[in-house]
């Protein structure tokens, strides 16, 4: 019997494709965000409000994942930006191959901001790199304050937590401060914005965060163009 050392990631095929996607996004100056939450936390509503409120000159594209139906894409298309539905047909997460396939018909030069809405699930999407610049986790006040402790992986891997539905805080026994403390227990220093997609409260903070990340993504993109050998080619 011979023991052959392997020492490589189980999802190395996915990670390789994700790295190629990330290099392409950098090359084209695209900020790509991967939005993750439980079903019903308000990812699609957050995207709807984001598309409404972003400056018109921002060229946004959206990939929205679901197990079944085109409902989310139909909702988001109303804003007039390019939207594609990824129907996974049963799979509980998106992977890099699905992103690559659904981007094929778009010209990346025409996109500044690519928003990916993952399948509603706090577990599986955390394992799959989609080539995004950052993961964003959405939690809503109708869930439990302890969700960050129950699903530490996704709260640790996300750079921002959007606490949604804060207009309902007077009516539900949810302590937003405790939820934020729990998020920062799992992920010290995690950035957090409180929003309500119903009233529009706090959305400026979310848009400012996107703009900040977009500027830093552009800096990375320029560095990439200056030294294209630094990352895998597109």
């Amino acid at each position: 019997m011979e023991r052959v050392p392997l020492e490589r990631k189980v999802l190395s095929e996915n990670d390789k494709l994700a790295a190629e996607l990330r290099a392409r996004f950098h090359q084209h100056g695209i900020l790509c965000l991967n939005l993750i939450s439980s079903p019903g936390s308000g990812k699609t509503s957050l995207l709807e409000r984001t598309l409404e409120k972003l400056p018109r000159q921002t060229r946004v594209a959206v990939l929205t994942g679901d197990i079944q139906t085109e409902n989310d894409a139909d909702r988001l298309k109303r804003a007039g930006f390019p939207v594609k539905q990824i129907t996974t047909g049963g799979t509980c997460h998106l992977d890099a191959r699905m992103i690559d396939k659904h981007l094929a018909e778009w010209r990346l030069d025409d996109i500044d901001l690519l928003l990916i809405e993952n399948v509603g699930n706090l577990v599986c999407p955390s394992s799959y790199d989609l080539g995004e610049e950052a993961k964003v986790v959405v939690l809503s006040v109708t869930e439990g304050e302890d969700k960050p402790l129950k699903y530490p992986s996704i709260f640790f891997k996300s750079e921002l937590m959007v606490l949604n539905k804060v207009d309902l805080l007077p009516y539900v026994p949810f302590d937003a401060t405790v939820a934020e403390e729990n998020a920062r227990k799992v992920h010290p220093g995690m950035e957090i914005v409180r929003v309500s997609c119903t009233t529009g409260e706090g959305l400026d903070g979310w848009l400012a965060w996107i703009e900040r990340r977009r500027r830093s993504a552009l800096t990375v993109g320029k560095a990439f163009v200056a030294a294209p050998g630094a990352e895998p080619g597109s």
Binding site: M1, L6, K9, V10, V123, C124, S127
Partner: protein
């Protein structure tokens, strides 16, 4: 519940390794799973066992090594395991630190025997 997909990726990697060694048969495969990997080891084991049954990989054993969340103190460089979300360095008490492991989902080894024909039990009853 993405453990089925993970099990499939592990079996693909094993099959690839076996193909490089004509006549060989894999007996055991090792994976390392960090506590932040979002993988349930028991669910993974269940999926793995279901997937190998009745295939030419029947009998392949899965060895799971679990890895805790580790950080390294930014001040004194001590590496330590995080328990109960206590992020203070146990040596110097500093709270500034870098992530040092715990999100692994890695293949560590595959054990192969060259006498594939003698141990082939692919069609178990």
């Amino acid at each position: 519940m993405h453990e089925m997909g993970i099990a499939c990726s592990i079996l693909d990697a094993v099959a690839k390794e076996v193909r490089r060694r004509p006549g060989a048969r894999a007996a055991r495969v090792g994976v390392r799973i960090g506590e932040l990997a979002a993988i349930d080891p028991e669910a993974l084991r269940f999926c793995f066992e279901v997937m190998v049954q009745g295939t030419e990989q029947d009998g392949l054993q899965l060895e799971i090594e679990r890895v805790p969340r580790k950080h390294q103190c930014a001040e004194c460089k001590q590496e330590f395991v995080i328990c109960e979300y206590d992020f203070r360095c146990p040596r110097c008490g500093a709270v500034s630190m870098d992530f040092a492991g715990g999100d692994e989902l890695e293949l560590t080894f595959v054990e192969v025997s060259e006498d594939g024909a003698s141990s082939a039990g692919a069609q178990g009853t």
